[in-house]
């Protein structure tokens, strides 16, 4: 009630008392509301991902089969480990950030700058890891064949494990060269030759009698992709359109292109947040070094940038769950 009645005029036009209903400085309060709106943006993206996932609940790519790489372990099937490592890097850089804030409360400039530096390094490691994750996803692992209606067909051996196209494709007879600007149409070029041609795959498939194919469809009782018996496989392959290796915004060897689109968009948007967070951290770090906040008498700027940094970590916790775990 008191806030609605002007109790003291004290020379200003508004006399709202001195209630401070939110008890935070303008900057900190606005950082919180920015974070709120950004959280809603991210939840919008993740909800859109959820919509498409529910729409294609019986044919969505299985994350365990997509993200299986770990540095220095070539060919080892290591799902989750790498992304778990990335999560730890980000959580740890959150810890160093909050330690910096804590040191700021005690006006310990040296400690603040040290922890800020660690936070920046953590952020950079995370960004590098994400780049590596993207590289693997773009490069792909096994390769697949796309049918005329866009469905993805993958190849498996007799035990049901996926095999690479190169391992069974017939040796090439024709000499197909990469399309560059000086050969063929001048305004078109291709980034790289496809590893094998469709004809090679088809011939190789006919020659290797112990391999078969699997479709994107998930058997809901085992939650595995459906393997098609070899007798029926040719009916699928007769409809094939192109060889697909890796993933981009147009094709995805692991299944639905939408999966790749959402992956690039959401982790990209998050990565951009991390990137800008690192930049802001660097600016604040130098401000700490030259003693701006020591002279100002408080380290609230470190606290505010810390809020943003923790938010980035918070978003990653959700991205991690919805892209890799569920």
């Amino acid at each position: 009630m008191e806030a609605t009645i002007a109790t003291k005029a004290n020379g200003t036009s508004w006399g709202g008392g001195n209630n401070k209903p939110l008890g935070a400085s303008y900057g900190k309060m606005m950082m919180w509301f920015f974070i709120l709106s950004d959280a809603l943006t991210f939840s919008g993206f993740l909800a859109a991902y959820g919509l498409m996932r529910f729409k294609f609940i019986d044919s969505w790519p299985i994350a365990d089969e997509v993200f299986t790489h770990f540095p220095f372990l070539h060919g080892v099937h290591a799902p989750m480990y790498y992304v778990a490592l990335m999560t730890f890097v980000l959580i740890f850089s959150s810890v160093t950030m909050v330690l910096a804030v804590d040191a700021g409360h005690q006006m310990k400039k040296k400690k603040v700058s040290f922890y800020m530096l660690l936070t920046i390094i953590g952020g950079l490691i995370f960004l590098g890891s994400q780049a590596w994750e993207w590289k693997n996803f773009i490069k792909g692992s096994y390769g697949a064949v796309q049918l005329n209606d866009g469905k993805i067909i993958q190849f498996v051996d007799a035990s049901g494990h996926q095999i690479t196209l190169e391992s069974f494709a017939a040796p090439s007879h024709s000499e197909r060269v990469q399309h560059t600007k000086d050969k063929g149409i001048w305004f078109k070029k291709e980034a790289a030759l496809p590893p094998v041609s469709l004809t090679q795959v088809m011939e190789g498939f006919k020659a290797n009698t112990d391999i078969t194919i699997r479709t994107e469809q998930i058997d809901l009782s085992t939650r595995q992709k459906t393997i098609i018996p070899r007798e029926k496989a040719m009916a699928y392959l007769n409809n094939s359109k192109a060889v697909v290796k890796g993933a981009n915004l147009k094709v995805n060897e692991y299944g639905k292109t939408l999966f790749a689109d959402f992956f690039f968009f959401i982790t990209g948007f998050h990565g951009f947040h991390v990137f800008s967070g690192v930049l802001i951290n660097i600016i604040i770090f130098f401000n700490v070094l030259i003693g701006t906040y020591q002279r100002r008498g408080h380290y609230e700027m470190v606290e505010k940038v810390g809020l943003y940094w923790h938010f980035v970590d918070l978003v990653w916790v959700f991205v991690f769950t919805f892209f890799y775990l569920i």
């Binding site: 959820g50 989750m80 804590d102 409360h105 699928y236 409809n239 923790h310």
Partner: protein
């Protein structure tokens, strides 16, 4: 009083929260790798119990990050509610509507998708 509090170091609490977050993450990753059939293949609340566990653990992590890393616990009740309640309400609202719609589209579209050739 507030002034005296500001000078106290919270390092112990921070490391404790870090350990909790690490344990939760390790549990999540372990479950994600092992995927016990009993949790992974059965149905509960429209999805597998494993997914429910993941979501609950994620919210636990979000709670610890917001409350202790972002110091939401120390903010005034008004600010806390303005931020947290708004986010929780709008996100739940959005998620429920959109996911129901997705399931509906699947009901309609699923039978029309051709899987044999």
């Amino acid at each position: 009083m507030a002034h005296a509090q500001e000078h106290k170091s919270h390092t112990k609490l921070i490391w404790k929260v870090f350990i909790i977050l690490s344990i939760v993450t390790i549990v999540e990753v372990a479950l994600g790798i092992v995927k016990p059939d009993a949790l992974y293949l059965s149905k509960f609340l429209g999805t597998s119990p494993l997914n429910i566990i993941f979501i609950v653990l994620t919210i636990v992590k979000a709670y610890y990050i917001t409350w202790f890393f972002m110091h939401m616990a120390d903010e005034k009740k008004n600010l806390r509610r303005a931020v947290v309640w708004t986010a929780v309400f709008l996100i739940c609202y959005l998620a429920v509507l959109v996911l129901l719609e997705g399931a509906y589209i699947n009901d309609v579209l699923g039978p029309l998708t051709k899987w044999d050739y």
